[in-house]
């Protein structure tokens, strides 16, 4: 199953549409951040990660840990598409007794760790990376971080340890959409320059367009030299794909009303229409 860049781009549009559908149905969700990381997850699960429902128990599988757990709707949609569970289960999102709560849990097939409190995933990823190295396994570990999340100091404890332990099998991805719940990250508590910070901690740094399928592919397939951990700073747009949600902080966990929902779907359907003509 090899998909072209344009096929993957089309898939991203379908994922975005499905993310909005399940959030609208649930009446809850983290819309903006889910839309900003859709392309990252798309490339990971459809092109990079060696993991599938059949191999999820294998110790040699690649690991994906979503530290920015609030964007779980995007992850649920991608996991359903990859066959980890039936897509129809997503209509139970945030409902009584559903395992599809607003952050990742291992009750959902395909999820490695229960995350959602910020600043946890990178340390876990370092532990997995060291564990894989101890067993001489070639699997890699990918951890998705939010840029606002990087204010949590534990990330920098993990960043230090990752380079100390030479975790060349570890990739941190920063969904760098520059917004958090209160507003611009640079106004809330600036963490720039991110690239220099990670470089100073001994990491290999790549800065890419986080919505470009080829750039994401290239970055995730690259392996740093000298056993250094890799950080991919993926510049993204919060709310990507829906014009009135793009780069607007209130969509962090905004749920569209009926009119907004219809408009958002029209925009995505039009984009899908275009790709089918292309």
């Amino acid at each position: 199953m090899t998909m072209s860049d344009s096929e993957l781009a089309r898939k991203s549009l379908q994922y975005r549409r499905r993310v909005l559908e399940i959030i609208k149905h649930a009446g809850a969700g983290h819309t903006g951040g889910s839309l900003s990381c859709v392309d990252i997850l798309n490339v990971l699960y459809n092109r990079v990660l060696r993991v599938s429902p059949e191999t999820f128990d294998s110790p040699d599988r690649d690991r994906y840990i979503q530290s920015k757990g609030h964007s779980v709707e995007a992850l649920f949609v991608v996991l359903a598409d990859r066959g980890f569970f039936p897509d129809s289960q997503l209509t139970t999102l945030c409902q009584y007794q559903s395992h599809f709560v607003g952050h990742p849990t291992r009750k959902v097939p395909g999820i490695e760790f229960n995350t959602g409190a910020l600043g946890h995933g990178l340390s876990i990823g370092v532990g997995v990376a060291i564990g894989l190295m101890k067993d001489r396994r070639n699997a890699r570990v990918f951890v998705l971080l939010g840029d606002g999340e990087l204010a949590e100091g534990s990330n920098w404890e993990a960043a230090m340890a990752a380079s100390h332990w030479q975790c060349g099998n570890l990739v941190a991805i920063v969904d760098h959409n520059s917004l958090q719940i209160t507003g611009r990250t640079r106004d809330v508590c600036s963490n720039e320059p991110l690239d220099e910070k990670f470089a100073a901690f001994g990491w290999e740094v790549r800065i890419i367009n986080g919505h470009s399928i080829p750039e994401l592919t290239d970055a995730f397939r690259s392996r740093p030299e000298a056993s250094r951990p890799l950080v991919v700073i993926a510049n993204t747009v919060k709310g990507k794909g829906v014009s009135f949600m793009e780069d607007v902080a209130r969509w962090h966990h905004g749920v569209p009303n009926d009119e907004e929902y219809a408009r958002a779907l029209r925009e995505l359907d039009a984009a899908l229409q275009e790709t089918s003509h292309a």
Partner: protein, 333 residues
């Protein structure tokens, strides 16, 4: 730690001073790790405090140092456990269970990673270093987290058994102990009639002595003081049952309710704040069973903790043979 009179009572019972539970832990872990290379010790600049220097020298590939970063320590431990490693995260209890509490709650317990959290120098073991280095909150904080077994061994035997239990446990475990030399709670040569009592069994109170007037339900390094008090009280005509409640969660409700039926009063003793620890756990069991047994909680009160070494703090708050005997006589009336 022990008055001359207390030492005399210990000697009369044939009890001998062992070594620090910390040393028993370190040796037990090393022997486990020698036969299983998946056994890992993760430390936060705590290999010296954890007596893991010999471990690090013997098995350098099985010790992972993360620096003074307890949150990272617990997160990394969870990641390692997900790879099938038998992970002992070793750090002073004060930091492990406060600084890294959210990692314990989420990365270990909620994610169900069978990490073995080892809180060293627990309670007021670092007495004179002040409250920053005390862990008088840990049992309260951790009892309120789902999916975590909590063990507070009293002597070398219980420590060894607790570590062996943790090594094979398939769910998260917290074990905390101190660094002072501890008496063995059972004489090397069991006296006539002692039978097979006194063995460690997870989730079951260890019955050190039987009695019908009062029952001491003690845990960790306070147990020896309760045992000596029981012997002292015998001279005053009171017979006391003594339970070493090494498993704080799940609590042995059967042993507690038996004590309530058999004895006129129960005294809990712990090296912990009086809120949220063993005492309130036992109280909850008794209240819900409708027991009207006389009851006292002995621990560290809710105040600015007195300064001094562990022995000073124990004495100040009545966690000594003499102090506990006085509490018992007052309760017995």
């Amino acid at each position: 730690m022990f008055s001359p009179a207390a030492k005399d009572v210990a000697a009369s019972l044939g009890l001998q001073l062992g070594r620090a539970n910390l040393e028993e832990f370190a040796d037990t872990l090393l022997s486990l790790a020698r036969t299983n290379r998946d056994v890992l010790a993760v430390t936060s600049d705590s290999r010296g405090s954890g007596k893991l220097g010999p471990f690090g020298q013997a098995l350098p590939e099985q010790i992972i140092e993360v620096g003074i970063a307890e949150q990272n320590l617990v997160g990394i431990a969870a990641g390692l456990a997900s790879c099938g490693k038998v992970v002992f995260a070793v750090s002073p209890a004060c930091f492990l269970t406060a600084r890294a509490l959210e990692q314990v709650k989420n990365d270990v317990c909620y994610s169900d990673m069978p990490v073995k959290l080892i809180g060293i120098s627990a309670g007021v073991s670092y007495g004179a270093l002040g409250t920053t280095h005390h862990s008088l909150h840990d049992l309260a904080a951790l009892r309120a987290i789902n999916n975590l077994d909590i063990l507070v061994p009293a002597d070398n035997h219980e420590t060894r058994e607790a570590i062996l239990f943790a090594a094979t446990a398939r769910r998260p475990v917290y074990v905390r102990f101190g660094k002072a030399a501890m008496y063995h709670l059972v004489p090397a040569r069991l006296p006539e009639g002692h039978g097979g009592a006194g063995r460690f069994e997870f989730g079951k109170a260890r019955i050190l002595r039987d009695g019908r007037d009062l029952c001491f339900v003690a845990t960790g390094e306070t147990v020896i003081h309760a045992l000596l008090a029981a012997e002292r009280l015998r001279q005053h005509g009171l017979t006391c049952r003594v339970l070493s409640m090494h498993t704080i969660k799940p609590l042995d409700t059967g042993a507690i309710l038996s004590a309530a039926r058999d004895c006129r009063g129960i005294i809990t003793v712990e090296e912990h704040m009086i809120h949220g620890g063993l005492g309130e756990g036992v109280a909850g069991v008794l209240m819900q069973a409708g027991s009207a047994v006389k009851f006292r909680i002995v621990g560290i009160p809710d105040e600015y903790t007195v300064t001094g070494a562990q022995a000073d703090i124990f004495r100040h708050y009545g966690i000594t043979m003499e102090g506990l005997a006085a509490t018992a006589r007052a309760l017995a009336g």
